[in-house]
Amino acid sequence: MNFERIKEKLNILADAAKYDVSCSSSGSKRANKNKGLGDSSGMGICHTYTEDGRCVSLLKILLTNHCIFDCAYCVTRKSNDIKRAAFKVQEVVDLTINFYRRNYIEGLFLSSGIFKNADYTMERLVAVAKKLREEENFNGYIHLKSIPGASDELMREAGLYADRLSVNIEIPSEKGLKLLAPDKKREDFIKPMQKVKNEIIQYKSEKKLIKSTPVYAPAGQSTQMIIGASGETDAEIMYTSAYFYKQFKMKRVYYSGYIPISYDERLPSIGTEVPMMRENRLYQTDWLLRFYGFDIRELLNKEHPNLETDIDPKLSWALRNLEHFPVDINKADRRMLARIPGIGMRSVHKIIQARRYRKLNWEHLKAIGISINRAQYFLICDSATFETKDRTAAQLKSLIIGTSGSKWRGAYSNQLNLFGSNAPLTTS
């Protein structure tokens, strides 16, 4: 292997791939087979974190950054004056195996610029995955990017080797897409998603009948939207997201704050701050939808088209719906417990278990680990002392922001922990 040459390619093609924020490597259930290499049956592991705090779980690279398209928001676009490179199929295989054996990674996330045409590109991505599975007996995680416009036949094959497939919608609205990527059509994204969804359903039902049916993309599919490049409201973004979850049974939708990479005047100029707080609020909303039993219409609607930046969406909802509070910790059902600000799903679970043995008071709740600062205004428990004052939403908000000592600290304020240790940007 010519290590110097590989190093150069790796630098170019990892740099070009880093704007895809997905790094999840869980949900596959692919166990080690015949004493081969690797296992993806457990929770995904973050092997390290970049200096911007993102999980590094997969070797995330492009096969090539040559591209025939010119999407304005993308560094790889045809008109951009950058160094170009391309890996050979075998080079990607060797890198993956050698990184995996050293426990650097959980597997490979392979994407690509489009060279020649969609099928030509997709064929090569599939060839890498096939080699890894069939020649190297590799059971680590493989995430392939579906190239918009690739044929159904290739998409079917891709799912037989990959754990996850994704197509990035990138621009949440059709009007935005028209403006920024005029050669791309929304159907080109939708078609492979639909195909993957159908194959997953079909393979699953066949597997019920015939045990030996191979699995198809066991970790499902995901997509990504760029935030803050094309002027959508939070409501537009999250309704699109809710639609994808429902329509295509997406495992994950990722939100990626736009990083200015171009002087194109259709886009935020270079030097504009990455909207990280907004991105974080969208992830929190996503979590409320997937794990907390919220409906999108409760969180975002005509009256509230955008999320508040200074408080998280759950607190925001609670302040708009004070009539549901206070909640009795010792009686309320799971759904209502999960809606109390300052109580995460893990605490909900502990509360439900612990209250079977005794009535819970403040001391117990503190020990369980809820955030009393926030929660105290929204619940009653087995103690004599309570927050009894009738306060307005505005008063509550200033009390809570005041005591949590974390007012608005600017875009880099680290609030990724509001939902416990599972920061939304880590592997899920």
Binding site: A14, K18, G38, G53, R102, N137, R358, N414
Partner: protein, 256 residues
């Protein structure tokens, strides 16, 4: 004044279970189970040496698993690996409560259960970190070698994870704090006592132990780590929260 009985055992999990067996057998009024590593001379306590006895240990272990539950057994083992000075006291109380029918993996409002669950969480987190932070280097003998210095004795837990994952390569993970390792020879794992010279990581010595390609792959990985970073999103606080400095020593991507 009543005497306290001190049961001194060898610091192993089997030893601890043997001591628990003796507690039920001899029924002392007030008892303290102490690992010999930290036992100190004490005029007021009566010391008893507990001999590790596999049969007794197995009986207690089986009792825990059937009467208190598999999950409780797992928790007790993990909490034991924390090596915290209060582990014997907490675990003995948990086992007693468990045998009386108390649900020791559920009642989070009970102080002992809470401490147990915290110990389990701490050990679990460290185990998870080691699963992630182990960096194998390929030696000239074709063994993938890694060193760790975990805060708790997590290696027995990590061993199972690595055995499932690297079934087709020989590997050795060495705990430099506790001076033992786990070796996998393509068939089974075994525990090995060994001393590994400290100089193995120096750039002068490395070429002597490791393959030629090994250096290149470390270099590629370091490069990858740099290229995948997005400087305009830099957030060192978050970075350090995930990768605290004390773990950097063995992370190839963090070497200069």
């Amino acid at each position: 004044m009543g005497m306290i009985d001190q049961y001194i055992y060898d610091g192993t999990f089997e030893g601890f279970l043997s001591a628990v067996f003796e507690v039920y057998e001899r029924k002392p009024l007030v008892v303290k189970i102490v690992s010999e590593r930290i036992a100190t001379e004490n005029f007021f306590d009566e010391e008893h040496t507990i001999y590790t006895d596999q049969v007794k240990a197995d009986r207690v272990w089986k009792g825990i698993q059937t009467k208190i539950g598999k999950k409780a057994g797992d928790w007790i083992y993990r909490a034991f690996l924390s090596e915290k000075p209060d582990r014997e006291r907490v675990l003995l109380r948990i086992i007693k409560k468990g045998f009386l029918g108390h649900r020791v993996t559920e009642d989070y409002a009970d102080v002992d259960v809470l401490r147990l669950s915290n110990l389990v969480k701490m050990v679990g987190r460290e185990k998870h970190r080691m699963d992630a932070f182990v960096r194998f280097k390929l030696t000239k003998d074709n063994v993938y070698f890694a060193e760790i210095e975990p805060d708790f004795d997590t290696l027995p837990l990590n061993a199972i994870h690595f055995k499932n994952r690297y079934a087709d390569q020989k590997w050795l993970i060495y705990d430099r704090c506790r001076h033992y390792g786990v070796y996998y020879d393509l068939h089974k794992i075994s525990y090995v006592k060994l001393e590994v010279s400290k100089d193995i990581n120096t750039s002068e010595a490395a070429p002597f132990y490791f393959t030629h390609d090994e250096m290149h792959y470390q270099d590629l990985w370091k490069n990858y780590f740099k290229s995948t970073n997005i400087p305009s999103r830099k957030n060192m606080r978050l970075h350090l929260q995930h990768v605290p400095r004390r773990y950097w020593k063995y992370l190839s991507e963090k070497q200069p």
